[in-house]
Symmetry: C2
């Protein structure tokens, strides 16, 4: 079977996703990739990532430095068998679903229910590994088209059930969590609606189904000379529909925009019909836009079954770069300067010294020691930079060779103004790709008594250091107040830049052995850090969204009227409350 | 009185708008500026615009060429005294409004009611000048703050009246028209809420009231070293609130974005409260966004009383440029190429040959004939370009000197590839500013039996020529079918570019003397042109919006479910229907 063409549009065949591309049922990532203990140290078992297959001897010492407690490869916190509640008895609901989708479209298997009952917030993974998840979806369905989606919604409405749309399951806002739900729960998995329906090379648009996965979308588009350019950290697993629902942001947003810039239309299916534009234009002023309302709707407006997106031709060149600066403040000044330009590199990220060391700690043992030594010498002696203070910036350039060369020249000059210098393209590429490995690390270290998580915010340039200082102060102090061993790990990066500010992405961690209720401590630390961010002028979320975990803070960022109206608008479109899952505090009208 | 500062924010004083800046009550523009007949030809009386004060001897011959009928300066279609219906008797409503706002905040004067009863759609101006406007607002109010806005809404709701928010009155979608309204009508004029409430130089944001006027906003921001960069053609008169309500687009959108990229938050006031964010971030994922729903809401969501916007520092350089191409297709190829770059000049507009000649016809008699002759010679002999086929492009560069120089160099190279060459900065500046004069011309020529209007669409690159050809064919044929004198005038420009397409802006016109019902003919011509655009792949509107004039075509661009949901969402937020004015076909629940 091959792609179909007519006189204008391309109809790609359904993606054939290799069996090895299966996701892990309980933890982050592909089943074939994992950090493991080997030969007394840590190794990455994977042929997907750059350090895969190698021992990482610098990693355990880094963990000790990070959390102040030695990493003990022999002391594992053993995961338990997953515990979930049995499904609610809902025979007529299941029968109606089977009638609509066939047996193959409906599952009540425990593993399937487990996987659909959580996203990747730390607390969810902790429950999966060591405690119990409790309430999870009672039944999981896999509709194949809009009509089947509507049939599911009708069956759910008749049974008074909740429907939770499910894409890549990578959500970190607990939007998928159903712990408090007393109704029957239907997880509506978009996995069977994972196609690029068409590519229009004339209009330079594509219609992509809600369940299509980021990495597969880019692979398929590339075959036809196009790309989307939307690269969230979760691109390996997250989906078109999930991007819209969470108001996602991509690493290359300087060139291709965030999701609100990427989508031209969003199709939303509810019981009563299919809302979409029938004429898609490069830009339009067509009145009220339900597509705009779908951005950030977190599964509560309807089922996002497809989106029409802007395409870009594959760039003439793609180049990586990296820069080293003598201090965080110098690096930050560089970031702020280039953000005021008309265009910055497609991606530009600044990591602090701790995160730079983190990246170095993940180098395999095969890196000749001499190289590191020479690098250190160059940095210290030639450039006069203190390796204990230096920070690094990774860059991705995409576009016309000529245009990108001009940009690189200006970047070099701007870096020099701040005492920075170029550290090469391969370091840039490693830095850019590091993000894909980090998510595996969290779930690995969790089993060795080291708890870690990430959270992000968006901050005006003038308040970046205030926010970072407030977070460090808060976490250090809360960690101390709980009398924990070692110290808290806190590292920050600027992951996206805007003319008026940036996204700051934090990783935090601590050693939790001997702690009676590690999740309570974690919640307390995160709660105070969140308040510290809000007090210092940061957003509640830059791109992770609200879901359930950040809902209690919504009143800190919106007027009560804004919150009331969000509820009214949601209810107007979902009068039965079948999508009112508690995300953003929105529940069915009682 | 001077601007107030605290430790962080700047609180600019209320703008003092000069008395001479009064708008014309019936037609487009400032009262002190108008095209007039003088010495047997046309002159522009104004000291605001570049050709002001001069005779324009080339203009009458151009009109003849454009519509095929000689311009007769002695044959004026004399305007009549404006005719509007008397106000509905609504004593208790007016009394309630006066109680809330004071006498000075409420007006029932005929002139005021007249001005608030129309926008600038051709049909409205024709009615004002030659026929009757009929139903206009019964009372006009000028609230000073959110509380007064709510008081107006409460009074209106109790009286069962319609409320029409009013900004600059520049709307061309008949969104302000009340012809069919049987309820009492309150026009809510935002003129008293015209301040920049604050500028935050640290966060690089400003809070701007809904009634603040574009040109005044930029003047005030400039005093503090900042700019907004949003420059719709109507910037002299249109307002912050109006921009949001119509989903406005600016000429410099390549650099500063359209209105959806400019605003970080929108405050919407209804009877029940004030919806806004209390924490504004450079970018956020804070769930459902009523601010996003306000974009394109056309006065039907509530009253947009303020917006928080991104600011930019004043650019190091601003430079104009112009290019000449041997043909439309060459110019278009240039436009498409640069639109795929990471950044294009802040503004880049391509006018067809007819519009190029239009611009030349507006040159004052003081331009030495020898200059034109030399220019013509250069174009024809040196560059081998046919002046009857050539097209022109105006460019505006804003930003860092270094960055913009790189861009100019690449632009020159790209133009050369298409046989284009640079024609100087002053031609570019004239071309860019031409747009401000054209709106006056329409209302002037209307009084000399020449009817003209503009409309816009948004089109994928691959369909630009199809759409233009379809419009020309449609208009020529409809014009012919009505047996009109002369021929139809049709000219097109590409006014905004996107990676996937562009905005095409059309001017059309025809001679209407002796036509029994010129508006019926105009409607017929526009109707068929609109269908031709839709059939050929264009949008219903790029930035003018829907209002009442394009509402009948909405079902061509959205699914019926999308239209139903827009109604439901509107009603959820405006349950009393006080904003349901018929725009986008949305009326109160009957």
């Amino acid at each position: 079977m091959s792609d179909r063409y007519d006189d204008k549009r391309i109809y790609p065949q359904a993606p054939s996703i290799p069996a090895r591309d299966q996701q892990h049922a309980r933890m982050w990532g592909f089943r074939d990739s994992a950090f493991v203990v080997r030969e007394g140290t840590i190794a990455l078992e994977s042929d997907r990532y750059s350090s895969g297959g190698h021992l990482l001897p610098d990693f355990p010492p880094f963990v000790e430095r990070a959390v102040g407690v030695p990493f003990d490869a022999g002391d594992r916190h053993e995961p338990v068998a997953p515990v979930i509640d049995p499904p609610l008895s809902s025979k007529s609901l299941v029968a109606a679903l089977v009638a609509a989708l066939g047996e193959e479209g409906v599952s009540q298997e425990s593993d399937v229910r487990l996987r659909h009952g959580h996203g990747h917030h730390l607390e969810e993974i902790y429950q999966v590994l060591f405690e119990k998840l409790g309430r999870v979806p009672d039944v999981v369905v896999f509709p194949r088209d809009d009509e089947q989606v509507r049939a599911v919604l009708n069956a759910a409405a008749e049974a008074g059930a909740l429907v939770v749309p499910y894409g890549g399951g990578t959500c970190v806002s607990m939007a998928l969590s159903c712990a408090e739900e007393s109704r029957a729960i239907v997880s509506l998995d978009m996995a069977e609606m994972n196609r690029i329906e068409w590519i229009d090379p004339v209009e330079r648009t594509a219609c992509i189904q809600g369940g299509a996965v980021g990495r597969v979308i880019e692979e398929q588009l590339r075959e036809h000379g196009f790309m989307l350019g939307h690269e969230p950290d979760s691109i390996e697993f997250s989906t078109m529909g999930g991007w819209v629902a969470t108001a996602a942001s991509g690493m290359k947003k300087n060139r291709y925009g965030n999701i609100e810039d990427v989508v031209l239309d969003v199709t939303v299916v509810t019981r009563s019909g299919v809302s979409e534009q029938t004429r898609i234009a490069p830009r339009s002023s067509h009145g009220f836009s339900l597509a705009r309302l779908a951005i950030g709707s977190e599964g509560m407006l309807g089922v996002i079954t497809r989106a029409v997106v802007k395409l870009h031709r594959l760039p003439e060149v793609q180049r990586y770069g990296s820069l080293v600066f003598p201090s965080w403040d110098k690096g930050l000044a560089f970031m702020e300067e280039i953000s005021s330009w008309q265009s910055a590199p497609a991606s530009v990220r600044l990591v602090d010294n701790m995160q730079f060391l983190f990246g170095r700690a993940l180098k395999p043992s095969t890196t000749p020691a001499i190289v590191s030594a020479i690098q250190k010498l160059v940095v210290e002696k030639i450039h006069g930079i203190d390796v204990e203070k230096m920070v690094a910036c990774t860059l991705v350039y995409e576009g016309d060779d000529d245009e990108q060369r001009d940009l690189e020249r200006r970047i070099t000059r701007a870096a020099k103004k701040q005492g920075g210098f170029g550290a090469g393209g391969s370091a840039g590429k490693d830095g850019y790709n590091l993000t894909f490995g980090i998510a595996y690390i969290r779930d690995f270290l969790l089993q060795y008594w080291t708890l870690g998580d990430s959270f992000e915010t968006s901050v005006p340039w003038g308040k970046v250091n205030d926010v970072i200082a407030a977070v460090k102060e808060s976490i250090t102090s809360t960690h101390r107040s709980h009398g924990l061993a070692g110290h808290a790990f806190i590292t920050a990066r600027v992951s996206q830049v805007y003319a008026t500010g940036c996204c700051i992405y934090f990783y935090i961690g601590f050693h939790y052995k001997g702690v009676a209720d590690p999740m309570a401590v974690f919640r307390d630390i995160e709660h105070h850090a969140r308040l510290a961010i809000l007090d210092a002028g940061g957003a509640l979320s830059h791109h992770h969204g609200i879901g359930k975990v950040r809902a209690p803070y919504l009143e800190r960022v919106k007027s009560s009227e804004a919150l009331r109206w969000a509820k009214e608008a949601q209810r107007a479109i979902d009068p039965d409350g079948i999508f009112a899952s508690g995300n953003q505090g929105i529940l069915p009208r009682s």
